[in-house]
């Protein structure tokens, strides 16, 4: 019986959406048999659902000042 480790490349490619059809089929067959790898795949999905934080608008202004050589305003 193959170990999870032996599916590592197929699983990584499948999660990233870059797997060949054959690799994806192997990974999905393994997910069907392995609750641990299935949970890892769910975690990958959950990571993608994390909200994206944004920098403050001041960062763009500050960098623009650097770029133009204008000294930053005193605090």
């Amino acid at each position: 019986m193959m170990t999870c480790q032996e599916f590592a490349v197929d699983i990584a490619d499948t999660l990233a959406g870059s797997a060949t059809p054959a690799a994806r089929a192997r990974a999905e067959a393994h997910f069907g048999e392995c609750s641990s790898c299935r949970a890892n795949a769910a975690l990958w999905q959950a990571l993608g659902d994390l909200p994206a934080d944004a920098p403050s608008p001041a960062l763009q202004v500050k960098f623009g000042r650097h770029l133009s050589g204008t000294p930053s305003a005193p605090r």
């Binding site: 590592a8 499948t14 949970a39 960098f63 770029l67």
Partner: protein
């Protein structure tokens, strides 16, 4: 310089002394870079400082960019090095994240917000090198090949490391949540 220019065309313009091209590269990438640093460090203020530092380094090191290289890969190499420089005092391999200063969601009582917060904490509890693999592959949109170029390892090595890092993250998440299995929504790409 045109807004439709590729990153590489803009970078070539930066090499030619056109600073407005750097401004456009900043516009395109500063949000993603900020999130890279935020997920690496947990500090919003540090992430803004390091984001700015990367673009200043892009300008200073512009002559070292090779025109056949992808700008994003080169930029993330600079970001990777900038973060290592910052954490060197604490040793890169063992450095623990700084105190989280990510703004808490207003509706923290909601279950999914708690799960997100737990997932963030689990991610921050990972060793920085493994955390970075997940950040680059899951959040920053880099292909495994690009990550391999950045880290100087084979593409398949990146894939195996991502697979292992994901397993480690799940162990940490389950330990923190005090229950086996994920409470996060299932499904996969």
């Amino acid at each position: 310089m045109l807004l439709s220019d590729t990153d590489e065309q803009l970078m070539a313009a930066v090499q030619g002394g056109e600073s407005s091209a750097l401004g456009e590269l900043f516009n395109r990438h500063h949000g993603a870079l900020y999130r890279y640093f935020l997920r690496m460090s947990g500090s919003a203020s540090l992430s803004e400082d390091l984001t700015q530092e990367v673009f200043l380094r892009v300008l200073r090191k512009s002559e070292t960019w090779q025109r056949d290289a992808r700008f994003a890969s080169w930029m993330y190499r600079i970001a990777h090095n900038a973060f290592i420089d910052h954490t060197r005092r604490n040793k890169w391999e063992t450095a623990m994240p700084e105190k989280l200063d990510i703004a808490a969601p207003a509706t923290r009582q909601l279950e999914h917000d708690e799960e997100h917060a737990l997932l963030r904490r689990a991610l921050m509890a990972m060793p920085p090198d493994k955390r970075e693999l997940l950040i680059l592959s899951r959040f920053q949109g880099l292909k495994y090949e690009q990550i391999g170029e950045l880290l100087g390892v084979e593409t398949n090595t990146v894939k195996v490391r991502v697979f292992r890092a994901l397993g480690q993250l799940r162990e940490i998440y389950e330990r923190m949540s005090g229950q086996p299995g994920l409470s996060v929504a299932g499904g996969r790409n």
